[in-house]
């Protein structure tokens, strides 16, 4: 009854050690072939105009993560006409108005999202560049967009949600270790940029940074 591979498999499968080692090898191959090439130079084409988040924008990005905005909003425009028409209606992103690898080199972690309950935000700076609109939308989405199902975030603008500049500086220093090119001055700027600002203010400045550097 037993064919060659059954004999072989019995040798492996009746030996706990061999079974474990071969399973590990079987599952590691895929990862070892597909992941390391990503680290090689040249995979990501740099875009010179893309700059790291300043202190206030970074704080806003942290709020965006805390509130789980990325469960409803993607930040990745795909290369389809219907997507670029929707998210670059006034053609401010050139001939190839979709998302590029170079745009997210400073994104620890990436926030492309996997679900669009709300619209894509990769080009938000171009689409809704008004801070006042963003503030009133965040405070009550149904006022600016009747029928919206987005939660309201009025509390982010209240005084018990003030930013702590020391925390922001520590976070920027950590990102510098990871390779984000912050200068000492960039980090010191937290004192002026984030002083007396709320989490909501930071979030708005982050939203207005999205797509700002690649706008033409």
């Amino acid at each position: 009854m037993s064919s060659w591979y059954e004999k072989l498999s019995h040798k492996v499968e009746d030996n706990a050690f061999k079974l474990s080692v071969w399973s590990a090898i079987a599952v590691l191959v895929g990862g070892l072939v597909t992941l390391p090439p990503l680290f090689l130079q040249g995979t990501v084409q740099k875009i010179d105009s893309v700059k790291p988040y300043n202190a206030l924008e970074l704080a806003g990005r942290d709020v965006y993560q805390e509130e789980g905005c990325f469960y409803c909003h993607s930040q990745m425009v795909r290369p389809f006409k219907w997507e670029t028409d929707r998210w670059d209606p006034t053609r401010q992103y050139g001939d190839t108005p979709y998302s590029k690898a170079g745009e997210s080199v400073y994104d620890h972690p990436f926030l492309w999202g996997s679900k669009r309950i709300g619209p894509d935000l990769a080009h938000e700076a171009a689409l809704r560049g008004s801070a006042a609109w963003q503030v009133s939308h965040l405070k009550n989405p149904r006022e600016t967009s009747p029928g919206s199902i987005m939660p309201a975030y009025p509390h982010l603008f209240e005084t018990d949600n003030m930013l702590d500049t020391e925390v922001i500086k520590a976070r920027m220093s950590a990102l510098r270790i990871l390779g984000v090119p912050y200068t000492d001055q960039d980090i010191q700027n937290a004192d002026s940029l984030a002083k007396n600002k709320t989490k909501g203010d930071a979030l708005v400045s982050y939203l207005l940074k999205l797509g700002k550097d690649t706008m033409q």
């Binding site: 591979y5 059954e6 499968e13 706990a16 079974l19 474990s20 399973s23 590990a24 079987a26 599952v27 590691l28 895929g30 990862g31 597909t34 990503l38 995979t43 990501v44 942290d62 993560q65 509130e67 789980g68 905005c69 469960y71 409803c72 990745m76 795909r78 290369p79 389809f80 219907w82 997507e83 028409d85 929707r86 998302s99 690898a101 745009e103 997210s104 080199v105 400073y106 620890h108 972690p109 990436f110 999202g113 996997s114 679900k115 619209p119 149904r142 967009s145 029928g147 919206s148 199902i149 987005m150 939660p151 309201a152 975030y153 925390v167 976070r171 950590a174 990102l175 990871l178 390779g179």
Partner: protein
């Protein structure tokens, strides 16, 4: 024959209770989140807003509910299959308490907004360390039990657990590498495209090695045990085990189609996803063919019904998944409720089905009594099946409708639905049906919980297993 061996049933009982507890909690979160998607006024409090509760639903259902079922089965089946007591009962207890501490801390910290914001890897670094500790305890206990075994042959269920324990450890460690800034915040050491790829290598394989391989192990254990019939083909199980674990790892990039990920990687992800149909269906067929040997009993046995529906949805979602991994199809399905339909065909159908079968198999044996009511188990089956259908069908319709509205253009070539809110409003009825389907599904689950509680009231009164072979022709 097994009388001489002292099996630790207490640890299994403890984990079974967690299946029920975390199941109810996580599904309740799912229902709240589902209603928040149609009635934004359900965002009662900053800590209970959609963005905070959604990860509690996903982590709770995957690591709380499914995790408990996996651990209960490991501690029950592995010593029995290998004919040796669990290597260390006290280590299993430490695992149990650290694990539950993790779930509680996870829920609280996610509500507070502490998150790495990578799907299914949201937990911040101190909790990650806790996870690593108890995963190691489980691994040591598991491998030492294997070392002490008195049964030479290692049954296929154990192989799947071996692959699970090793692979989850590797995935978890690599994807969660981050630089901490204080106790509650960290930044992934990877950025942009690299982070996305490492993350979906993890995310896809969390599905593979947390929602698939251990569930296959459970299927391979409970199905033959319950029917007292051997598994249909040992040969299929060999081939599909090795090919499944080898191929799964490559498929992650199908979550990143049309993204800035290198093209060759996207193609690899798509091709390996298509290849996955074969080993997935191998497992499903092996299950189905084992089941047909006891087909007369399916009519009267709720446990077998759950396994039948579970395998059906497993086959369905492992056919749908590869189709969704084809670029052109993904251009429609990605970012829409179609993904949610796929997830819950897998989750409500496959994962919950096997877990429910596990509970109905284990409880009478662990508490040494008969199930309080077979009829309630039947009711649970039918209520949850209707719930699944409402959920999955409504999300398919919603997903396809959504995807089509995003791309619809009028005669002049401009977008037909430029207003996002208009699209959202179109989806309202489907999302309402989904929420109601969820309520129905949870009601079914609560029926099981009540049935189990009543069963434990008669603990010790003696368990008479029904011999399912009586009805079969063989």
């Amino acid at each position: 024959m097994n009388d001489k061996i002292e099996y630790d049933n207490q640890i299994v009982r403890m984990f079974v209770i967690c299946i029920l507890l975390w199941g109810v909690v996580a599904m309740l979160m799912g229902i709240i989140v589902a209603f928040q998607m149609i009635f934004p006024s359900w965002n009662f409090h900053p800590w209970l807003s959609f963005g905070r509760l959604r990860p509690i639903h996903t982590n709770g259902i995957i690591f709380g509910f499914t995790g408990s079922a996996i651990f209960a089965t490991i501690y029950y089946s592995v010593p029995r299959l290998l004919k040796t007591p669990l290597w260390s009962s006290s280590m299993a207890r430490v695992h149990f308490w650290l694990y539950n501490l993790t779930i509680v801390l996870a829920a609280l910290s996610l509500m507070a907004g502490y998150t790495q914001s990578k799907e299914y890897a949201e937990l911040e670094w101190p909790i990650d360390i806790l996870v690593v500790v108890w995963w190691l305890l489980l691994a040591i206990n598991f491998f030492m039990t294997m070392k002490n075994r008195t049964e030479k042959h290692i049954y296929v269920a154990v192989w799947f657990f071996v692959a699970t324990i090793i692979t989850v450890a590797v995935l978890y460690l690599v994807n969660n590498l981050a630089i901490p800034v204080g106790l509650t915040k960290s930044y992934s050491i990877y950025s942009g495209v690299v982070d996305a790829n490492i993350h979906w290598w993890y995310g896809h394989n969390a599905v593979a090695f947390f929602l698939t391989t251990p569930l296959l192990a459970m299927m391979y254990y409970y199905l033959p045990k319950h029917t007292r019939l051997p598994i249909f083909s040992h040969r299929i199980s060999i081939v599909h085990f090795w090919s499944l674990i080898f191929i799964y790892i490559w498929a992650g990039p199908h979550h990143l189609l049309y993204s800035p990920t290198p093209n060759w990687l996207q193609t690899v992800g798509m091709l390996f996803s298509l290849m996955l149909i074969a080993p997935s269906w191998g497992g499903m067929l092996n299950g189905f063919l084992t089941l047909t040997q006891a087909k007369e009993k399916i009519k009267t046995d709720a446990t077998l019904k759950f396994i039948l529906v579970s395998l059906t949805f497993y086959g369905m979602s492992t056919l749908e998944g590869p189709i969704m991994a084809i670029r052109e199809v993904n251009s429609l399905s990605h970012f829409t409720d179609w993904t949610i339909a796929h997830v819950h065909a897998g989750g409500l159908g496959w994962v919950h089905g096997i877990c429910a079968a596990a509970v109905y198999y284990l409880v009478p044996r662990l508490w040494n009594t008969n199930l309080h009511s077979e009829k309630l188990a039947e009711t649970h089956f039918w209520v949850s099946t209707v719930g699944i259908l409402l959920y999955v069908v409504s999300m398919w319709v919603s997903g396809v409708a959504e995807g089509l509205m995003w791309r619809a253009v009028d005669a002049s070539g401009s977008l037909q639905y430029p207003s996002w809110v208009e699209i959202v409003n179109e989806l309202f009825p489907y999302r309402l049906v989904r929420a109601l389907g969820g309520v129905l599904f949870l009601s079914g689950f609560v029926i099981m919980v009540v049935n189990i509680i009543k069963t434990t009231k008669t603990a010790g009164s003696g368990f008479n297993p029904v011999d399912l072979r009586e009805g079969s022709k063989a």
